[in-house]
Amino acid sequence: MTDLSFTEEQRDCLQELINVAMGLASDKLARFLNTFVHLQVPAIGLVNAAEIPEQFRGQYQGLNSSMISLGFFGDGGLRGETILLYQLENAGKIAALLGYDDDATSEAEMLTDISSILTTTFLNGLAEQLDNSFSYAAPRVISSRDNDFISKLEQTAFHWQLALKVDIRYELTDYSFDCNMILLIPGEAVLKLKTILDNVLADF
């Protein structure tokens, strides 16, 4: 079996690229939302995709949470799926900022809008760092207000070998918004990513 694990250098490089991508994303979000957005340095973890559901079980158990998926394709065989997890309670605050209180919008629509704004701004930044560009599938609500979301996450994670877990905390001026982003990347794309990271490292 091919070795999918990252060297320490590759891991540091990826963390650095993600940090920069997050910085770009928060800058764009701040301009768009007209508010100060502070992003903590995201904690990343590379884990076996099969372990993901168990890791989130405790954190979201019994809470009204939402899980929204967004698939992406890049050049050079890079592809994956991002899953954004957050508590619905948090969603209301962002929704107000985005102006979602003034017309009849369904909850599902609001959730997909929030998620696609948060994930695509980040992924666009990451693509830029990787000298790549991504195209996106339409976001889908996998689960909402639903206690069974861990089992749905299990079904999704099953298709992927490696998961890049990124814990993100967006802090806006008046409140904080916590969410978890999971980047799921299939095995062959992990190899592509490793090659890309090596190229980035070679340039320094």
Binding site: K28, R31, D102, S106, S116
Partner: protein, 322 residues
């Protein structure tokens, strides 16, 4: 090979809608897919504001989304599952589909003109009417299955299983909000003899007609179910004992006074009714047991009458059994 010639014919023949807008959300280009369906000429809308060309589009929401695409330079999406359509366009399945407008998936993409660097947003619109139609049909059959699963096949009232689930719900509600709740149990008198004398078909007709008659005497919130054989039960939410007794007496009177026609014969029947009332001490099971005991007493008293549960009934039943 130079393929600059490709984009023109592709946009002409593409089986998806393309709308290109500038940063002021004015129309720069619309492909024939949209023009034909909306019955507009490109020349007549070019330079116009999107919402003056399509006044029915959801302005507040859509302009917010398009502005997010422009300022974040990130794509946005709209799915028919959340918003059936953005633009009122006809679809090509006018006969097989009940909905009037094309269900749409829409991608909103940020584009930059390479020489000037000017930003644009492009709407790609796909027809999702097929998916919409299948989904609606699926939902409808699921709803029908759910209905069938809840109803008694012969009489069309609730089946025992679903009725009993509803009783649990109502008992919990009554307990939580301190609301009154009453229960009626009733049984067709001498139903076995009717079956013996006239046949099971006659018995079925009587069950159907009696259920129909009683159903017409109830409120919409009352829950009427077939408990088994010729035994029926009615949950009366928000109804104190006195009200329940009145309903029971009315049922008794009307059933006894209404002949049921079967093969040119007039069949007469009657019901015996037991009434019980929820108090905080009782559970759903206890409520059923009490109504059942009262029903049994009504039978012993000579049928075609109403008996309300009282605690001594338990003792009298013991005497009968011993």
């Amino acid at each position: 090979m130079n393929i600059d010639w490709l984009s023109g014919p592709l946009l002409q023949q593409l089986n998806s809608g393309v709308i290109l807008l500038n940063q002021q959300l004015q129309i720069v280009y619309i492909n024939p897919y949209i023009c034909r369906r909306a019955d507009i000429q490109l020349e007549s809308v070019q330079g116009k504001d999107l919402f003056s060309a399509f006044p029915d589009a959801p302005k507040a929401w859509l302009s917010r989304k398009l502005n997010s695409v422009l300022s974040l330079q990130s794509p946005a999406f709209s799915s028919w599952e959340q918003r059936q359509y953005l633009f009122k366009l006809p679809h090509l399945r006018p006969i097989s589909s009940a909905n009037q407008y094309m269900a749409q998936n829409c991608n909103m993409l940020p584009l930059t003109e390479p020489t000037s660097g000017e930003h644009f947003v492009c709407l790609l619109i796909e027809d999702a009417t097929d998916a919409y139609v299948y989904q609606s049909q699926l939902q409808q059959s699921n709803l029908q299955l759910q209905q069938v699963n809840r109803l008694d096949g012969l009489t069309g009232v609730l089946n025992r299983n679903y009725w009993q689930q509803q009783l649990e719900v109502e008992v919990q509600r009554a307990g939580r909000y301190q609301h009154p709740l009453s229960l009626l149990f009733f049984d067709l008198d001498k139903f076995k003899r009717l079956n013996d004398d006239y046949g099971h078909q006659a018995g079925d007709i009587v069950l159907i007609e009696v259920a129909k008659l009683i159903g017409s005497l109830l409120r919409e919130t009352d829950l009427f179910g077939r408990y088994g054989g010729e035994e029926f039960a009615i949950i009366l939410p928000d109804t104190p004992l006195q009200g329940a007794i009145e309903v029971a007496k009315r049922i008794c009177r009307r059933v006894a006074a209404t002949p049921i026609e079967y093969q040119q014969q007039q069949l007469m029947t009657s019901v015996s009714v037991g009434v019980s009332q929820f108090s905080t001490a009782t559970s759903a099971d206890e409520l059923i047991q009490q109504a059942d005991l009262a029903l049994y007493q009504a039978k012993r008293n000579g049928r075609n009458q109403v008996v309300t549960y009282y605690p001594e009934l338990i003792d009298s039943l013991k005497k009968v059994k011993s």
